[in-house]
Structures are given as structure tokens and as C-alpha cells.
């Protein structure tokens, strides 16, 4: 399969002026400024095939957004190479720009005072869509995003969720083959998050578009991405399937038990690692291989009223991955 994105040893340094504190520092900085170089992305290499939907995970400042900005052509890397859809993004060729879209959850391209429909019209002209293309693309987006009645209301009157969906419509009107989404569900309520997720999934399935998304919301990642790239301090910590990440980094499961009577905690630690304990309940971490034995031991020695075995939450796995790094 053809690569939609390929990066080789991408590095990005930011230069920021250092400012001494206080008024005097401010005056001094007028004449002499010192700079500090911060490495935001530190030798990142990966390949994404056409049609893949990949999650890009990492804590704040890990280099996710910087990478997306380089792939969209907004930033020039300090060193390294990248191609996206066969183009070098930062050359900003119009034919490249017509095939991609970058959506940043915290930034808007919509005109604030007037209805979103006008921005869509502008994008129609910017991307050179015919009237027929405009109509058909818009109709589909409006259906998928349940946007019809919101298109003709000034953007400032829309709720955050409505605005985000209008934002997606504006970003996808030209049917980009490559979609870079930075925190697409940020600030949305659960219902809206779900709608946006369903939309992203549907867009990927329907057009075979390549999608790369960053999110702090693990539900986004679990529901959308089979493959994840985990990055921290500018370096890739993990690149592979989400399932394998869970298996290899969570060799234990979580057992939660509720008791019918108050129990004495002594002895519980022989079954597993105690995460949380109360008089009537306990949460234990038990290695996968010993789970059956552990559950049996608990059932035979304690007055168990209810018992639950769960996989480790993906958030926890990621957090562990970061602390280990």
C-alpha cells in the first residue's frame, strides 16, 4: 500500500527569547536578548499508509502538534525529511494544500460574525469546487454532522459543539485525502464527542482518507484508532497496534470485589497488589496469568457479593509508559 505520510528523523527546535524577570529585565531585553532553543520534536520517523486512521498520543508539550504542523506545511523542520501524499509539506504547493486539511480544535477558521455557510462558500472558491461538487459535498457533510439548521446562524451564536461541527464541515468541504486533527473533541460534551467521533470514523471509511489525530481523550483513541503512535519529549515511545500496546504494557488486570460483610484486609495482598481498599470493597491488580487463581482464592476465603475483572484503563497504560520514559 502507498504511504500517505513518511517521516525520517524529523527534528524541530523552537527558539524562544529568555526574559529576565521584572522591569529592569524588560529594559535589558530591549537591547540584548538571549534565546533558548527547545527541541520539540527529536528525530521522529514513521510511516502511515493511505486510508489509515492513526492516533497520536502524548502529554502536553510532547511534540504532537508540532509534528502535525510540520506535516501540514505550517512549520519547517530544523532537520529531517517528510513527505505527505508525495509532497514535501513545507513547500506549500497549492496541489498539496488542496488535498489536505488541518483542524485545530482550539482554533477556528470560521468567520465569527456571519453564518458558517459563508465560510463554506469561501472555501468552495479557495479550493476551486464546482457548484455541483459544492452541493453534493455539503449535503453529505451536513447529514453526517447534523448541521443543517446551524449553517445559517452567525457563528458566534453557535454552541461549542455546533461550532466544532461547522469547523469540520469547513475543513472537509474539499474532501481532503489527508486529514490532520489536533484535539478535535476538546471542550465538547460527551454526546458531542461521540458525534464527532462517529463522523471521523465515517469519513475515513467512506473516502479512504488518511487521518492522523491527537487527543487527550482516550475514548477517541480507543474507538477510532487501531494504531497509535505514542510520543513524549519529542521521541516516539511506541508505534503499533493499540491492542499490542495494552498487552505488552499491561501484564495485569484489575479485579474489583464488593463484600457482603466488612472484611479484615490481611491476606488480601497475597492475592494481588492492593490499589484501593475499603471495609466493604477492594480493588486489586493481578497478573494476567494468576487471575483465575486469584479470583478463586478471593471467592473461597472472603464473603464476596460481587466480582468484576477489567482490563487496565488505557489512560493508565499510557501514563505508565510516560513515567517509565
Amino acid at each position: 500500500m502507498a504511504a500517505a505520510i513518511e517521516t525520517r528523523e524529523l527534528v524541530k527546535d523552537y527558539r524562544s527569547p529568555l526574559k529576565e524577570p521584572g522591569l529592569w529585565g524588560g529594559v535589558k531585553s530591549l537591547f540584548h536578548r538571549e534565546y533558548k532553543d527547545t527541541r520539540a520534536v527529536d528525530g521522529v520517523s514513521f510511516r502511515i499508509d493511505e486510508g489509515e486512521l492513526v492516533g497520536f498520543l502524548g502529554p502536553n508539550g510532547a511534540g504532537k502538534t508540532t509534528t502535525l504542523k510540520m506535516l501540514s506545511g505550517l512549520l519547517t523542520p530544523t532537520s529531517g525529511r517528510a513527505t505527505a501524499l508525495g509532497f514535501t509539506p513545507w513547500n506549500r504547493e497549492p496541489s498539496f494544500q488542496r488535498s489536505i486539511s488541518l483542524v485545530m480544535g482550539q482554533r477556528s477558521q470560521l468567520w465569527w460574525e456571519i453564518p458558517a455557510y459563508e465560510t463554506l462558500r469561501l472555501n468552495q472558491a479557495i479550493y476551486g469546487l464546482s457548484e455541483a461538487e459544492f452541493r453534493s459535498h455539503l449535503d453529505e457533510l451536513v447529514d453526517l454532522l447534523e448541521l443543517r439548521e446551524h449553517l445559517f446562524v452567525p457563528v458566534k451564536k453557535l454552541s461549542l459543539g455546533q461550532r466544532m461541527r461547522a469547523e469540520l464541515a469547513a475543513a472537509l468541504l474539499h474532501r481532503p485525502r489527508l486529514l490532520l486533527l489536533d484535539e478535535p473533541t476538546i471542550g465538547l460534551d460527551v454526546v458531542m464527542q461521540k458525534k464527532v467521533r462517529e463522523f471521523i470514523k465515517a469519513y475515513n471509511a467512506r473516502y479512504g482518507a488518511t487521518i492522523m489525530l491527537t487527543s487527550h481523550n482516550m475514548t477517541d483513541v480507543v474507538e477510532l484508532c487501531r494504531r497509535v503512535i505514542v510520543i513524549d519529549k519529542g521521541r516516539i515511545l511506541y508505534d503499533g497496534s493499540l491492542d499490542r500496546l495494552v498487552e505488552s504494557h499491561a501484564d495485569y488486570k484489575i479485579l474489583r470485589a464488593r463484600f457482603s460483610k466488612a472484611v479484615d484486609a490481611t491476606g488480601l495482598e497475597t492475592i494481588g497488589k492492593i490499589v484501593k481498599i475499603g471495609a466493604f470493597d477492594v480493588t486489586l491488580e493481578i497478573p494476567r496469568a494468576r487471575m483465575a487463581a486469584g479470583a478463586t482464592a478471593l471467592l473461597s476465603s472472603y464473603p464476596v457479593a460481587d466480582l468484576n475483572v477489567e482490563d487496565v484503563a488505557i489512560d493508565d497504560i499510557i501514563r505508565r509508559l510516560f513515567t517509565r520514559s
Binding site: 519547517t76 477556528s108 456571519i114
Partner: protein
Amino acid sequence: MKKYLIAYSIALQETLQRRSTLIMDRLGGFAVVISLYSFWIALIGDKSSFLGYSRSEMLTYVLLLNILRSFVFAGRGWQLVGEISSGRISSYLVRPISYHGYALSLDLAQKSVHLVSAILEVSLLAALVRGQLFIPADPATWLLFTASVVVSSLLFFFLEFLVSSLAFWTSESGGPLFCFELFLQFAAGAFFPLDVLPEGLRRALEITPFPYMVYFPIRLFLQKITPAQALHLLTLETAWLFAVAAAALFVWRRGVRSYAAEGG
């Protein structure tokens, strides 16, 4: 081309949508015109002319001033500064559109609205004071005047673009833009005819591009300069336009590169 027409139409809608801002803007401009007018009338007093301007020429200067300020100086430099500092500019840089063309479309929308509004105000004021206006009969004067206003507007656009682009390097480029706009109005003759200034200062200003923007077109309109002089000055103004546009494009490209290098 169509994208710029649509940008123009959207910007037009948006300007009209922000009715209260527009009205405040216009009221402010109108107040300036009225105070200038009263000031000059007081200065002229019983005399038939002042600094070489007759009463009707002075009235025409002040009214034309309102139109030119509204047209030549209508722009969106502040928006550009805001978009650069907030990073909103990113959304244009990833789309296949020229930001200059886009910004010019937006400026033109602003200019259209302000021009119409200024003409209405000026007509109202002219009717109120019932003064004699100086209207040139010669079509060549009108032609040269129109040409100079078009060049002035473009000159203003690129000058403002140049100054606003400083936002790529400093987070406080609102300051330079503000100073620039004030100085521009003074040096362009938008507060008073430059004849008021001491000879030396006036001559110094005349070697800058600023007087071409208001002072020159009005003098042209009032036929204070001969057509031959006007043509000569128009050529100089056009040369300024090319120089400033080249500088603005150069700085912009540098700015985008440093934006791309430093992050937005």
C-alpha cells in the same frame, strides 16, 4: 479570482453586521470633519483666503479629507496583527490562497462601506453649511485624481501590511501600528493641509511617501498643481508604491519563514 470576490462579499457582510462599530467609526470621523471645518472657518475669519486656500477651497479640502480618510485609510491592519499574534493566520497558510489578495479583498470591502458612508456624510454637511464647493470642470483633473486615489489606497495597503507584519517578530506590534497610523495621518495631510507646516518640515515630508496619500490628491483636485506636475507626482507615487509593495512582500515572506521556523 472568484475566491477574492467571495472574500470581498463576506467581508462586506461582516462589516455591515457590525453595525455599532461602523456607526461609532463614522461618528468619530464625522466629529473630526466638523471640528476641522469649524477650526478653519475661525482661522479664515473675514479674510477671503488663508494660506492660499479660499473659503470654498478650504471647505472642499475638509470634505474631501473625510472621503479620502475613509477610502484610502480604511484597512484591516489590526486584524492582521491579531491573526498573526493569535496564530489564526495558520488557517490561511495551509489553504491555497494568497494572503495578500485575501487581505486586499477585505480592505476593499471596508473601503466600499466607508466610502459610501463618507459620501453621505459629506453631502449632508455640504447641504448644512450651504458653502460653495470647489468642483473641477476639467475631466483630466478627475481622471488624475481618481488614479492618484487608487495608487494611494494601494500604497496605504502595503505600508500597513509592512508595519503589521512586524507582529511576526514581536508580540507588541500593535504599538508600532498605532504610532504609524497617527504619524501617517499627520504626514499625509489628513489633519491639516501640509502648507501649515514650516517650509523645511514640509519639504522633508515631501520626500516621504506619505503626502501622496491625502495632501497630493486633494491639491490635485483643487487644481493647485498643474496637470504636468500632477503626472510627475503620480509617477513618483507609483514608484513609491512599487518600492513599498516589494518591501512588504519581502518582509512578509521573511515573516512567514520565521513563523514557520519558530512556531505559531
